[in-house]
């Protein structure tokens, strides 16, 4: 019912007609090429259409219907003994004919004048690695071009098979460092005894884990003991300081009392105020006073050395050496300041191993420029030419290096 509804294939009436059809198309194309026709596109589409029809004539709807749907118990007998024997003898005959074919001699001998030139292909180890780098695809022998294309009988349009987006692909990208995600060859350290007992897994000796645990514990204990010691020391020091302070206080108190006993003869005029004002001026003119000291010092030096230096120069020198009043933490200016600070006790390293580099791209690839430099430095070649950069021809300039003088006796 269904196949009868299909439109009859336009051109095909049988195998012979198919061939004729093909030839016809070819001839048509040739003709049009000769004529230089302008409607090339049309001919191509025509040709495609005819190919489609050709294929359609080869496809039957029955190809898609599973035979067992109607009856599960269709009998499909194994081939009979006779047919087996017949095929065997036929194939054997063919193969023997193939094998007994007179082989062309491997060595070809050509004569040039009196000389005989023998050409032979050397025997090669088939397991020897190819000398040529093979890229991706393995060579697939050419297929017979004359054959009609095979019809694809699956429906490639429907279904969820869609192209993977770049985003999805990115998600699935596994960095090389984590390639153990799927062990491609399934290799491991041997964990199984191959005595064939089966289901017998070798127990890993617990000694290793015991040892590491014990070491860890000892380390921890030592740390705690050290901490306690430090704490005790600190407490002792604090106590000492406190004792001193109280002693001083007491002395002061005693003195005051003695003075009071003598009577309030001498007033202490605005002592506190004075001190305060002094302190405040001190902080504001600290730089200034430091400068004065420096100026005095410079003057002294000049006098001692007997040099006549003007006041202006001395002032200038003092100004130049003056440090700015701004206070800053020098670590802020240092590279990796934050990472060099230890955050907690367990932190073993100042910074993670691969923090700066992008791991995947760089660390497993050789930087040849760096390598060259390294080799040079290892060779200890100190001649000037080695310092000339290869690419640019410029000389690497740096501070002049002094080498230790070698004594004559040493040399000899």
């Amino acid at each position: 019912m269904f196949s009868s509804q299909l439109p009859p294939p336009k051109y095909s009436k049988g195998d012979d007609s198919l061939k004729n059809e093909k030839e016809l198309i070819k001839a048509k194309i040739l003709l049009q090429k000769k004529n230089g026709s302008d409607d090339n596109r049309e001919t191509i589409s025509d040709e495609l259409d005819s190919i489609h029809r050709q294929i359609a004539s080869n496809v039957k709807f029955e190809d898609f219907i599973p035979l067992r749907q109607r009856n599960f118990n269709i009998e499909i007998p194994l081939p009979s003994l006779e047919s087996i024997q017949e095929t065997q003898s036929r194939t054997l005959h063919f193969l023997s004919k193939l094998q007994n074919r007179t082989e062309t001699p491997r060595d070809t001998v050509t004569k040039i004048g009196n000389r005989e030139i023998r050409m032979s292909t050397p025997v090669q180890d088939p397991l020897q690695l190819s000398r040529f780098k093979r890229t991706g695809k393995i060579y697939t022998p050419n297929l017979d071009q004359n054959e009609t294309p095979t019809t694809i009988l699956h429906d490639s349009s429907s279904g969820k098979s869609s192209k993977i987006s770049a985003e999805e692909r990115e998600k699935w990208k596994i960095p090389t460092l984590v390639s153990q995600w799927k062990n491609p060859n399934g290799y491991t350290v041997a964990r199984v005894i191959g005595n064939g007992e089966g289901s017998e897994i070798k127990e890993i000796n617990s000694g290793f884990s015991d040892l590491s645990e014990a070491l860890e514990k000892a380390d921890h204990d030592a740390k705690i003991r050290l901490q306690e010691k430090h704490e005790l020391k600190r407490l002792a020091y604090e106590r000492e300081v406190e004792a001193k302070e109280t002693k001083l206080k007491q002395l002061a108190e005693n003195r005051r009392k003695r003075i009071e006993e003598r009577g309030v003869s001498r007033k202490e005029p605005l002592r506190v105020e004075k001190a305060e004002s002094k302190a405040s001026t001190n902080t504001s003119t600290k730089g200034n006073s430091g400068n004065k000291i420096l100026i005095n010092k410079l003057r002294d030096i000049a006098k001692r050395e007997g040099r006549d230096i003007s006041e202006k120069v001395i002032l200038g020198a003092a100004e130049a050496t003056r440090t700015p009043a701004v206070n800053y933490d020098s670590r802020l200016y240092m590279k990796g300041a934050a990472s060099s600070a230890r955050r907690h006790e367990e932190q073993l390293y100042d910074n993670p191993l691969f923090v700066q580099q992008s791991i995947d791209s760089s660390i497993y690839r050789t930087d040849y420029n760096k390598l060259d430099d390294q080799i040079e430095s290892e060779n200890g070649s100190t001649d000037v030419m080695s310092k000339v950069r290869k690419e640019t021809g410029t000389v690497n300039r740096g501070p002049i290096e002094f080498t230790k003088a070698v004594k004559k006796e040493d040399k000899d």
Binding site: N142, T150, L153
Partner: protein, 395 residues
Amino acid sequence: MATLPTHLQQELNDHKATLKNFNTATEDILQKNMATSKSLAVRETSAASFDNHSALERRRQLFMQKPKWHASWKLHTVINGHLGWVRCVATDCVSNKWFVTGSNDTTIKVWDMSTNKLKLTLAGHAMGVRGLAVSKRHPYMFSASEDKLVKCWDLEKNAAIRDYYGHHSGVHTVAIHPTLDLIASAGRDSVVKLWDIRTKEAVVTLVGHKGPINKVYCLPVDPQIVSCSTDATVILWDIIAGKGMKTLTHHKRNVRDLALHPNEFSFASACTDDIRSWRLPEGSLLTNFASQETGIINTLSINEDGVLFAGSDNGAMSFYDYKSGHLYQSTMTRATKGSLESEKGILTSTFDKSGFTLITGETDKSIKIWKQSVESNPTDDPGLPWNPMSSSQRF
């Protein structure tokens, strides 16, 4: 030529639509039929006219039949011993006393079938062993390896006696011709080579696949060679003509395995989410198995009882009734102690000669032996329900 011609495709699509529309209607009819005239329906189907293939009619015919019941399968033994993936397994098809496994650790190991103890380790390959075949007619075993070699092992001397050189790349599979002294091997160089066992000469090279070949089988009559490939095709070869008799293009993805039926002249092939069986010698579609969510299928095996086993790359095991394509049991393998979560895939499988034992080789480096439970019966253990969806009618 990736698609069907447009007019044909449209025709098919139209019928798909009708199938959807009449889904409910069919079921109504079915229920009535089931209740009233079951015997009548069966008689009808047996005498079904072959020229009538409307979608509805086909669906009705499918519903009228019941798949055969099979007992469920249980894990029996786990054997450890290999240091790499177990890539191939073959049984002794003469005495059924031992089986042999090949692994990525380059060794081949022979195990006792009854005690599951190691009998022998054969070393000789330089890279992983991908294919094994034990001969019925000679005391020989053949192994294919990624080191481009096929080796012939003498089972009396327990040593490799011949090497077959000639493949350009790794060899994935090897098969022995049932009547002639020939072996067929194929691999990454996408050709099937036929070797004379004695002279070690590559007699015939069959060219036609466009991608690495995954499996090759030899049959006693034409087509004498069947092969499946990553180019999503199965080719039935004619040795004498030196080319393919028929190319099966129903699969969409890499066809990873083939399995021959031991009692019937048919075979099954599997790609991702798709198992189909084919009638030989002409290669017409027999059954569409209910295999939509199986994932990547690495291996297929069929026993005499009509059980088809499909092992997936994610460790899923599916057992089908071969004739109806009904999935009656679906389980997962158990990863052995100490293996990773991702190491849970089935790479190879085979039934033993009796068909009651299933041997699987897995990515967790273990060999697992599965047995059909003896005491289970259809009432206690009916298996998954028979619910033929339109999957069997897909294209």
